[in-house]
Assembly symmetry: C2
Homo-oligomer: 224 residues x 2
C-alpha cells in the first residue's frame, strides 16, 4: 500500500502542491529498533517518515548519547553533512519511510522543485533545532516535560471529545536523553503532572492531556 504523493513530499507543515515527474523510490519499512542508518554511514538517501516514528541520536565515546531529534510522520530525516550521517537513526516502532536519493536532490540535473523543498525542509530543521535548544536551556524538569508533551500533542495528538490523547512511542530514557534529564526524573515528573491533575496516564505509553492551559503555563517558565 503506497501513500499519496502529497503525503510523501516533505513539507508537512503547510499544504503542498502537486507532485512532480520525480522518480519515486519504493517505500522502506523497518521494524521496531531497526536502524535506518548509522552515524558515519555515507549518505545515499534522505527519508521522509510516512508512519511510525524514529529517533536520531548522536553517540559518543563514553557510551552516553544525546537524542538530537525525533522523526514523526512528515519529517525529513538524514540530512547529510560532508556526505556522512552524523547521527544514528533507529525506529521507535514499525515505521514506513519514503527514501529520496541525495544525488538526485543535490545535482543540478535533479528535480528543481524537489531541490527547493529539500532546502526548505533543511531550514525548517534549523528552526526546529533552535526550539529544541530552548527546551534544553536553563529550565526545570517540569518545564521541559510539559513543553515536550505539548510538542508531541501538536505533532501527533488525537482529540477524543474534549481531551487530547498523546501517544509516547519512546521510552522514558529516550525522553530523558532528549530533554537532558534522567529516566527517573522524567518518570517522577510525569507522576507529578498526573498528581496535579494536568495529565492522566492511560497505560505507560499514552498520555491524556486533561488541562492543556495548565500544561502550557507549566511549560512557560514564567508564573505558576
Amino acid at each position: 500500500m503506497y501513500v499519496t504523493s502529497t503525503e510523501a513530499y516533505f513539507d508537512n507543515p503547510q499544504p503542498i502542491s502537486a507532485p512532480s515527474r520525480t522518480l519515486r523510490l519504493p517505500e522502506s519499512r523497518v521494524t521496531e529498533d531497526a536502524f535506518v542508518f548509522r552515524q558515519g554511514d555515507p549518505v545515499r538517501h534522505v527519508y521522509q517518515v510516512l508512519s511510525g516514528a524514529v529517533r536520531l541520536t548522536r553517540v559518543f565515546e563514553d557510551g552516553g548519547q544525546q537524542l538530537v531529534a525525533f522523526g514523526f510522520p512528515g519529517d525529513l530525516v538524514g540530512f547529510p553533512c560532508s556526505g556522512q550521517h552524523h547521527t544514528d537513526c533507529q525506529a521507535l516502532t514499525a515505521t514506513r519511510l519514503q527514501p529520496f536519493r541525495v544525488s538526485q536532490i543535490s545535482a543540478d540535473t535533479g528535480d528543481r522543485e524537489l531541490r527547493c523543498r529539500y532546502l526548505e525542509a533543511a531550514l525548517r530543521e534549523i528552526a526546529a533545532m533552535q526550539d529544541h535548544l530552548l527546551l534544553m536551556g536553563r529550565r526545570s524538569a517540569v518545564e521541559k516535560v510539559a513543553a515536550f508533551l505539548l510538542m508531541l500533542d501538536e505533532r501527533t495528538g488525537v482529540k477524543v471529545g474534549q481531551l487530547s490523547h498523546v501517544d509516547l512511542p519512546m521510552s522514558r530514557k529516550d525522553i530523558g536523553d532528549y530533554l537532558g534529564l534522567t529516566t527517573e526524573t522524567v518518570s517522577r515528573t510525569l507522576s507529578q503532572l498526573r498528581r496535579l491533575g494536568v495529565i492522566a496516564l492511560d497505560g505507560i505509553y499514552s498520555v491524556i492531556v486533561v488541562r492543556p492551559d495548565e500544561l502550557r503555563s507549566l511549560a512557560s517558565h514564567a508564573e505558576e
Copy 2:
C-alpha cells in the same frame, strides 16, 4: 576595503573554488551591540560574517533568552524559516558582514553555485546545532565550559609559541546563555580551570590554553 571572494563565499570549513558571476552587495559594518536583524523581521538577506562576531538569541515572553549560536568569521547567519528571522542577531564587537539576497539564492533564476553553497551551509548549520545540543545535554559545568573553550580555540584561537590564545568577545552571561548556566557558574568554572592550571586568564576577555590535553579530557565527560 573589500574582502577577497574566497573569504566571502560561505563555506569556511573547506577551501573553496573560484567566485561566480554573482552580483556582490557592499559589505555591512555594524558597531558593538548593534542589531543586524531582529526576531520576526522578514528575511531579505542572509549574512556571512567577515570579521568580528555576532550572537544569535531567541528571546521569550518572560524576559529570558537562549543564545542559539555565535557567528564567527566564515559563518553564515540569518537562515530564514517561513520568510522570517527567528532569532535576534546582535554584534558582539564591531563586525563586518557580507549580505546575500535570499531572493537571489532561492529563486531558480539565481546563481546555481551560490544556491548549492547555501544548501551546504544550511546542512552544516544543522550539524553544528547538533553539536551544540550535545553541550547542553546532561553535562557538568566544567565539561560545558571546557568544551566551549575548545570550540572557540578551534574557531578563533591563535597560536603564540606553544600556547594558544583565545579571545572571548562575549560576556559571561552570553556564555552562560549559550551553555545553559548562570553567569556566576561560568565565572566560577573559569576560575576553577585557572586554579587547575589548565588555562590562564589574560584580562577578562582573553584565555590562554595552557594544557590543551587536560582541557580536552575535562570536556570529555569520561574518566577521572
